[in-house]
Amino acid sequence: MALSSDVPAGATRAVRLMGEELVAWRSAAGAVQVWEDRCPHRGMRLSYGFVRGERLACLYHGWEYGTGASCQRIPAHPDLTVPASIKVQAWQVAEAGGLIWAGRDAGAPPTLPERSPLASLSIRCAPARFLATIGSGDGPMVSTTRGGVSLHLGWHQSADDEFMLHAAVDTGTDRTAALAVLRSLRSDLEAEMAA
C-alpha cells in the first residue's frame, strides 16, 4: 500500500484502498502501523495527527494511540485510566521488498529480497486493463524489464478506476533511468485507456 520510504519515521501518510481511507505511520523507533484513518472519538482523520515518539496523536483533541492501536491518553482527562475498549481499527502490516504491506485476515506476510524503493505513482486505469498489462504474476510483486531496466512492481487499487503503483529496484540500478521507464509505463497505460 506504500513504499517504505513514503513513510519516514515521525510521518503519517493517508492511503486510499478500494475507497477505504487508511493511515500509515512510522514511530520514532521505526515501527510502521496501518490503521483506519479515523479517530474513534469524533471521526477526525488520524493522518492529520502528529507522531509523538511511539504514539500517534489526533489533531482534534490530542488523543494518543500506541502499539496495538489502543488509546493511551485523553488529555482532557489527565487522571483517567483510558478504557482498553477505545481502539482504532488496525490492519495487519509488514515491510518487505521496499514496500509496506497491509491486510485484513491475511496470511503470512510476503517474503521478498531486499530492494530499494523507487517511486509511487497513481495511474487512472480500469482494473481489467491494468492487470492485463502488468500481469498478476505468481508472487505479490511483478517484475518487468523495459529498456534494460528491471522494475519490481507492487500495487493497490485506490478507487474504481485508479491504481497506485509502487516500484522498487535492485540495489545498484540507475534510478534516473528507472524513473523514466516507470513514467513511460504509466503513459502507455493511460494512453490505452484514452484510446
Binding site: P40, M44, Y60, I74, A76
Partner: protein, 283 residues
C-alpha cells in the same frame, strides 16, 4: 425530498443583511433553491415561486421552509447599547451543519486546534461543567465551563481562565458567552448561525456582540476568521461528514457532555437531515 418537521419548521439565516443589496440574489437552504429580492428596505424570499416568511433580526436575513412553532429566538444582548455588532463573513464548510454546532460546543479541542490561542497543550484539562435541557424554551445550555486560554480574544494581553456558557437555541443555531478580557463582569456573545445547504455542506455565519473599546473591526474579524479557519480543517476531515447518532459510532468522554446532550436532543426531535444513516433501525 421531504423534510422532517424538526428541520423544516425552524428559522435559518441566509446571511448578513448587508450581503443582499437591492436586486435579486440566489441562495440554497436545505437542498432547496431560494430567491431573495430586495427593493429598498423591502425583502421577499421565495422557493419555487412560493413566498416564505422573512425576518431581519440581528443584522441577518432569516427564513423558514415550514411553520416554526416558536418565534425567532431572542438575543437580549443585541439591545445593550455598548456592544459592538460584528459580522465575521460567511464560511463554506464541506460538512454537516450539525458537526459545526457540535464543534462550536467543544472545549477540549482548544489546545490542539487553536494551539497557544484558545488553549495550551500544557493545560488541556476540561473541568466538569453543567449541561441542561430547558424544556420550557426548548434550548440546551452548558454552564460553569472554565478553560485556560493563552490569548482568549483579539484584545487579550496574556493568559486567563476564561469562563464560558453555551446556548443552543435550535439545531443549527448556537451562541456562546465568554468573559471579555477588558470587562470581566460582562459576557461577550459569539453566535454561530449555520445555513445548512446540503446534508454535508454548510455555510457558517459567525456574528459577535462584544464589549471591546480597543480592537478595530478588522482585528476582531481577523481573530475570529483565524479561529474559524482552524476549525474548518478539522470539520472537513471528520468521517463521516454527516453526524453519526448511532450508539457506538463515536466515543464520548466526560468533556463531551454537551455533545451527548445535543445528540440526545436531536434524536428526541427525530431529526435525521445531516445525520448518518443508521444501521440499527428499520428504515
Amino acid at each position: 425530498m421531504s423534510l422532517e418537521p424538526a428541520v423544516r419548521d425552524q428559522w435559518y439565516t441566509l446571511g448578513a443583511l448587508a450581503d443582499f443589496p437591492t436586486g435579486t440574489a440566489r441562495r440554497r437552504l436545505l437542498s432547496t433553491d431560494i430567491v431573495i429580492t430586495r427593493i429598498g428596505e423591502l425583502i421577499s424570499v421565495t422557493a419555487a415561486g412560493d413566498a416564505l416568511p422573512v425576518r431581519t433580526d440581528y443584522g441577518h436575513l432569516w427564513t423558514t421552509l415550514g411553520t416554526p412553532e416558536r418565534a425567532l429566538f431572542d438575543m437580549p444582548e443585541v439591545r445593550e447599547s455598548d456592544r459592538r455588532h460584528v459580522h465575521c463573513g460567511a464560511v463554506h464548510v464541506r460538512a454537516s451543519g450539525l458537526r459545526l454546532i457540535e464543534n462550536f460546543l467543544d472545549l477540549a479541542h482548544f489546545p490542539y486546534v487553536h494551539t497557544d490561542i484558545l488553549g495550551s497543550e500544557e493545560r488541556p484539562e476540561v473541568a466538569r461543567y453543567e449541561v441542561e435541557q430547558r424544556r420550557d424554551v426548548d434550548e440546551l445550555w452548558a454552564t460553569k465551563c472554565e478553560f485556560f486560554q493563552p490569548r482568549a480574544a483579539a484584545a487579550a494581553e496574556g493568559g486567563q481562565i476564561s469562563r464560558y456558557m453555551y446556548r443552543v437555541v435550535n439545531p443549527f443555531n448556537v451562541m456562546l458567552y465568554k468573559t471579555p478580557p477588558t470587562a470581566p463582569n460582562r459576557w461577550d456573545v459569539i453566535a454561530l448561525f449555520v445555513q445548512p445547504v446540503e446534508p454535508d455542506l454548510s455555510i457558517a455565519h459567525p456574528y459577535m456582540l462584544v464589549i471591546d473599546d480597543t480592537s478595530t473591526d478588522a482585528q476582531l474579524i481577523g481573530f475570529q476568521q483565524m479561529i474559524f479557519l482552524q476549525d474548518k480543517i478539522v470539520l472537513e476531515n471528520q468521517r463521516p461528514r454527516l453526524l453519526p447518532l448511532q450508539p457506538g459510532r463515536e466515543t464520548p468522554t466526560r468533556a463531551d457532555l454537551s455533545s451527548v446532550l445535543y445528540r440526545r436532543w436531536l434524536k428526541e426531535k427525530s431529526l435525521t437531515w445531516g445525520t448518518e444513516e443508521r444501521s440499527d433501525r428499520a428504515a
